[in-house]
Symmetry: C2
Subunit: 319 residues, 2 copies
């Protein structure tokens, strides 16, 4: 006989993630009780992974547990917030204990790494859908918004771009290839840039996380700030693995691939040394790859020459 | 051409619910920014409605919008919390504007009634699933938990029970019958007992909301409090409409029907006058229908005689 909802929660979810002293009451009542830090603002986000839309049937449950939390951590990173408490709404076609164990391991490992506690949730029968809601904290008024860029600010991105897009491409027989493996890891286990986001408070003028690709996300930041942007494609940070495996498609993945979960931010000129120190402290490279300008829209340049790029950006409701 | 995700959010969701001055930043960035009241604890919950599990295809979208928020409001009511900020994760098979308009009306009307603001969310293509996350506030240490009952406390319930179970029964040709209509309204537009929950802080010793039916939910409260309970079936509050339409099945619905979203709480004896005043102030009747005792388990009595009840309680993962 399969486990009931209460047993599943007890066995796999009750003590998932970090132990936090600000959780007055966790899983097991009608709601969780949490004690925010005095003087702090809350940052709240939610994001979902739907089978057939965000992942294929048969995807690694450990990766799904990791990704479901990572995409929310990345949203908080883009605000400069420190994550704290997560809720998980899980719709499952049935109770599959090995699947649940792997899923909880993926979720729990990343949660502990970021001192996040799972404080509540919900389990239903239905098509596989994973919805996470995450709350973080930050000093009042210190959040990084999309809307703070001024024309003439520099555009920066963290890490390397396009790896996840290449990592999602099925590569029959390439399991043993370490570069293909590394790219696949970038797709299955993205690294949310939480420490970087926190370090950028008071430094970056605007910030967004790269979930849909630079071509879609940078214009969102620019539009929210009432300006446009120029991107120097040659300055986009590409990994050696991506260059080697994807060749000329590497920069297309970097522009339009999506799901990199790196941060794209703006900063006033002259902060290169400060940003280099932050990059070193957070262990993630930062690349200066463009600037904002008063004219709206996004202009792409390659070696200084304006270029066109026709691939439509990633969007789950694109026609 | 169908609307894109951004247009749907802009048209139907950006300004949904109440206007709150503690929302520093709402929909439109990577996360919402919220300012909790100093000295308050947060209460957080999430609950989902999945098509084919919690509702049938073709259900009224206005009712779904109402219910998706109501079931979360009911969880906060059971803690005695004051609701504040909601997130909505919506998975839709496609963009259907009339559906979205009705759904937003149902959600927004109830949100304004309880001064809740929709501060963020997520839209995906996929099987119809509605997941709401709700955060409320209450003075630190004042929450109503399931675990506070003492043996000998009185068991009380709000409103009338079993109406929603009867209201879900398809009634061909009964559209014009006002009693059937009223029962259907109880199923489609449940009333979360938010003001009652707030009023019970410092009065009730334990509290739970009745989502799965008294037979399932009262034992949860009793077990969390380390005791058992005795329920006098003859004292269960039944509406005239339910008695008239359901006859002898009325008390079965009241025990096991589920989705009433009334509160079940315990209070030490001798508070009947206080509770009568609260009932009058909140505009909802309260009925004393049992007591807790040291022996575990739930005992049902009818006119003082112990009875058996075999119908298995409502549960989405019941075997």
């Amino acid at each position: 006989m399969p486990l009931g909802e209460a047993e599943v929660i007890e066995r796999y979810f009750r003590h998932l993630g970090a132990v936090r002293t600000d959780v007055a009451l966790g899983i097991g009542d009608d709601a969780a009780l949490l004690r925010p830090r005095p003087g702090c603002e809350l940052a709240q986000t939610t994001d979902a992974l739907v089978e057939q839309v965000h992942f294929l049937p048969g995807s690694s449950p450990r990766s799904l547990g990791h990704r479901a939390l990572a995409i929310n951590l990345s949203d908080l990173a883009a605000m400069g917030a420190t994550p704290a408490w997560a809720l998980l709404s899980l719709t499952l076609p049935g109770i599959d204990e090995p699947w649940l164990g792997e899923f909880a391991t993926g979720f729990g490992t990343l949660a502990r790494e970021h001192e996040v506690t799972l404080v509540g949730g919900n389990l239903s029968r239905g098509p596989l859908t994973i919805t996470v809601q995450l709350t973080g904290q930050l000093p009042q008024g210190s959040a990084l918004r999309r809307s703070g860029a001024q024309p003439g600010d520099e555009v920066w991105v963290s890490g390397t771009l396009g790896d996840a897009a290449q990592g999602r491409v099925p590569t029959a027989g390439a399991v043993a290839d370490p570069q293909a493996q590394w790219l696949r890891g970038r797709a299955e286990y993205p690294t949310p840039r939480v420490a970087l986001g926190e370090a950028l408070r008071g430094i970056a003028s605007a910030c967004i996380d790269l979930s849909d690709g630079l071509l879609a996300d940078l214009p969102r930041l620019a539009a929210a700030s009432g300006c446009g942007a120029v991107l120097e494609v040659g300055a986009l940070p590409l990994s050696g693995a991506l260059r080697s495996v994807a060749g000329e498609r590497a920069w297309q993945h970097a522009l339009a691939g999506g799901e990199d979960y790196e941060l794209c931010f703006t900063a006033s000129p002259g902060q290169a040394a400060t940003l280099a120190a932050i990059a070193a402290r957070c262990g993630v490279p930062l690349a200066h790859c463009g600037h904002t300008r008063p004219e709206p829209g996004l202009e792409l340049r390659r070696d200084g020459v304006v270029i066109q790029f026709s691939q439509s950006p990633f969007g789950h409701f694109a026609a």
